[in-house]
């Protein structure tokens, strides 16, 4: 027992901790914690100093605000030409829709807002009625309201629809159509029946493998070939079919994730209660499986919303295509015309996608009940 080390004297008191809290302490911890971190902070600040002033000047400082003239936009060193956006705003929202009939899309927008907001708030009452209205009644009413030809409304062919309106229509139809289709496909893929399973797997994998643009080409070129002679399919409808089939394949994979994550015991408990396949699926399996994959479903919708811009390639005037078409407007020709249009379109898309992604994050946190293993 010779080599026993015992401390003989007391440890000196440590110095009192420095400032905690306050901006200086925060900066010391988050910006200047080590020499290399300080260097990174300085370099990052330099980068921001380089990037932000030109962007600010373009968007606000030197920009021509709504009400300005095209001459101001053409001036040397002028920034974004917001006057041009304001002048063509109706075109970006409604496309070639007749101006006297703008109240019809406006009612549709209002209905959409009124129905979708309570649907997204989990605590709002009357979910079932609300969902029924949104998924079944709303599309039918909107179609007749927009297309007209009933109740004395003027007929507006789909060729005249455009702008943000068409972007929203395509994404909403894609969403509403792909939910049941995607769920059916996912259930089919999980099925024990070999033929049904093979068909679903083939469908899902084929659509997921090809880019949307080939699907749209296929829909716009081959769909007329597939139809009986003399039957024409509306151009917008072709795109809608393509987009819906495409996104249903992606949705099916998300739903499959939810189905696979559900413990086997739930299926077995359903069977033990004597429920048949459909009752078990509708009452026990799907409510839990779908709840778990709401974030994934919303992410699919974000991708779908962004992908709707591709319909401009097959000649449909969605938001992006109206902006693209307006950028060759001679009356507003100026060096910043095209950039301003793209910034505007980017902002519109960004708002919707960002809102959806925040919603999905919020839902994820809400649904995280701590049951994860």
């Amino acid at each position: 027992m010779d080599n026993v080390y015992i401390r003989q004297d007391l440890v000196d008191a440590r110095p009192a901790p420095g400032r905690t809290g306050g901006p200086i302490d925060w900066a010391r911890h988050n910006l200047f914690s080590t020499p290399s971190n300080s260097l990174l902070t300085v370099l990052g600040a330099l980068l921001l100093m380089w990037i932000i002033p030109p962007i600010y000047n373009f968007l606000f400082g030197h920009a021509v605000m709504p009400g300005g003239t095209v001459e101001q936009c053409r001036a040397e060193g002028a920034g974004a030409c917001w006057a041009y956006i304001a002048a063509r705003f109706n075109f970006f929202i409604y496309g070639f829709y007749p101006m006297t009939e703008y109240w019809r899309p406006n009612i549709v927008f209002a209905m959409l807002a009124l129905l979708i907001i309570p649907l997204l708030i989990p605590s709002a009452p009357f979910k079932r009625t609300n969902a029924l209205l949104f998924f079944v009644v709303f599309p039918v009413v909107s179609y007749y309201l927009l297309a007209g030809d009933v109740f004395g409304l003027r007929h507006v062919p789909t060729e005249q629809w455009g702008g943000l309106m068409v972007t929203l229509i395509i994404s909403l139809v894609g969403i509403i159509g792909s939910i049941p289709l995607g769920i059916l496909l996912a259930l089919g893929r999980q099925s024990k029946l070999p033929i049904i399973k093979t068909l679903c797997v083939m469908f899902i994998e084929l659509w997921r493998a090809v880019p949307l643009i080939t699907v749209l080409f296929m829909a716009s070129i081959m769909l007329p070939l597939f139809m009986p002679q003399g039957m024409t399919v509306d151009k917008l409808l072709r795109a809608l079919v393509g987009v819906t089939l495409f996104s249903s394949a992606y949705l099916a994979e998300v739903v499959r994730g939810g189905l696979q994550a559900l413990p086997r015991g739930q299926y077995e408990a359903g069977a033990a209660l004597g429920l048949g396949y459909w009752k078990r699926t509708l009452l026990i399996v799907l409510p839990q499986a779908l709840k778990n994959v709401i974030p994934g479903i919303v992410n699919t919708f974000i991708a779908l919303f962004k992908d709707t811009s591709l319909v401009s390639i097959v000649g449909i005037f969605d938001l992006l295509n109206t902006v693209q078409a307006a950028s060759s407007d001679i009356n507003w020709a100026s060096p910043t015309q095209a950039v301003t249009g793209y910034v505007f379109a980017a902002f519109m898309f960004w708002i919707f996608c960002f809102a959806m992604s925040r919603y999905s994050l919020w839902m994820e946190r809400r649904l995280d009940t701590g049951h994860k293993r």
């Binding site: 988050n30 910006l31 914690s33 020499p35 290399s36 971190n37 300080s38 260097l39 990174l40 902070t41 300085v42 990052g44 600040a45 330099l46 980068l47 921001l48 100093m49 380089w50 024990k192 029946l193 070999p194 033929i195 049904i196 068909l199 994998e205 997921r208 493998a209 090809v210 880019p211 643009i213 080939t214 080409f217 070129i221 081959m222 007329p224 070939l225 597939f226 139809m227 009986p228 002679q229 974000i302 962004k306 992908d307 811009s309 591709l310 401009s312 390639i313 992006l320 693209q324 060096p335 095209a338 950039v339 793209y342 379109a345 980017a346 898309f349 960004w350 996608c353 960002f354 992604s357």
Partner: protein, 512 residues
Amino acid sequence: MAVLDHTTGSAPRPSLLNDPVFRGILYQVLVAAAVIAFFGWIILNTAQNLAAQNKTTGFDFLFRTAGFDISFTLFPWSRSSFYWQAFLAGLLNTLLVAVIGIFFATILGFTLGIARLSSNWLIARVATVYIETIRNIPLLLQLFFWYFAVLKAMPAVRQSFELPLDIFINQRGLMVPRPMPDHEFIWVVVAIVVSIILAIGIGIWATRERTATGRYPRYVINASKVADAAVSLLIGLLAFTLLGHIVTAIGANPALVWIGAVVVAALSLTRFAPIGRAILGFVFTWVILSTLLSAMFSTWSTLAIGIGSVIAGAVVAWIVQERAADRPPSEARFPTALLILIVIGIPAFIYWSTGAELAFEVPVLERFNFKGGFQLPPEFVALVFGLSIYTAAFIAENVRGGIRAVSKGQTEAAQSLGLKEGDRLRLVIVPQAMRVIVPPLTSQYLNLTKNSSLGAAIGYPELVNVFTGTTLNQTGKAIEVIAMTMAVYLTFSLLTSAFMNWYNSRVALVER
């Protein structure tokens, strides 16, 4: 009331319609019949439609001359080329843009993903803003922006922007020098391949020896010391030559460059090696920062930029010196310098001894256009830009998720084993994070390849543009053309998922 009666022996037979096996078969027969009927209906309609339009089917059109121009091909293309060559040209263009896009997107994505996790608040915020902005804007819009608003708005040919290394950028795209290797250069290429294989072999062998015996082989250590000095000399030469561009006193006097490089090389052999590295860090930071700053802020005074860069250089020198002083002795270090010397030295020796020559044909502005060099069309540049920037945002999120998925306990365990930060990342964190990162990463690569089809919208001649666009319009063979295009993408997708399955089975956690 139901009375249980098990005495009869056989279970009561349910009605045939309630028998799950029979029902399963019935459902499948019904579905199969419906699908077959649907396809039959489609095929019948198509046949009638095609007959009405006097069109034939079949793949014989592939061997007819195409008769249209393709603006950018990887092999010689003329109007008399066949349609199958058009297919090949489109396919190669798709692959070219995909490979280059994947390269840049990976670098940018990993950088951003790591930056978003940085403990530095500013850097993390910048990365977050980038990712959240880019991810939520459609790719097509971004491509239009790069193509119509940036590259098409470049100056005309006569006012081209001149970038370093004889690269020019104007409305017609990016002009880069074209390498012109002569016949002997093939030996240099062979030497490069051989020396890379050699270097990898030596690296693996040395690591194995060290794992077996506890130390690297003696001659590897000795060779590594010499190589250290040689590589230091080369890097020193580079550093002081660059310094000569901003400090005229050094630029005017080549002897000073050599003296500086030799001092650094000599220091690397002594125990003052950290000081040599600190000098190199100082010089590089000074040169790069002052060049960048004077390019970025043309209004700032040269003196302020110079002082700022010197201070930053001093900080870097300090950091480098601290890090280098912490390094283990050279006996215990992986012989990186030796491997670098092998990869650079052997090809350089072959290049010098065979008299091979690698000339660069520089683009030269003539009366109306650039002559010589390699002309990358603006469509290509815009597509590479758009795809890399867009996909990088997604890759960054995958990287972040992968690193976050490695539990904090792993870092702490590595710390308690006494591993340094570099080893901790290289040996513990990254291998585990890669298991999570690679599968979504490959699907991002696949997405990038599929998204390259959007090049059709800005006129880049990739598969969809050349084949599903022009070829389909000219031949009218809608079914064949679309089927071939889809088959190509289906093949990409199946190859990717085959790779993912292989990788997953290789890295899957083996649980007991």
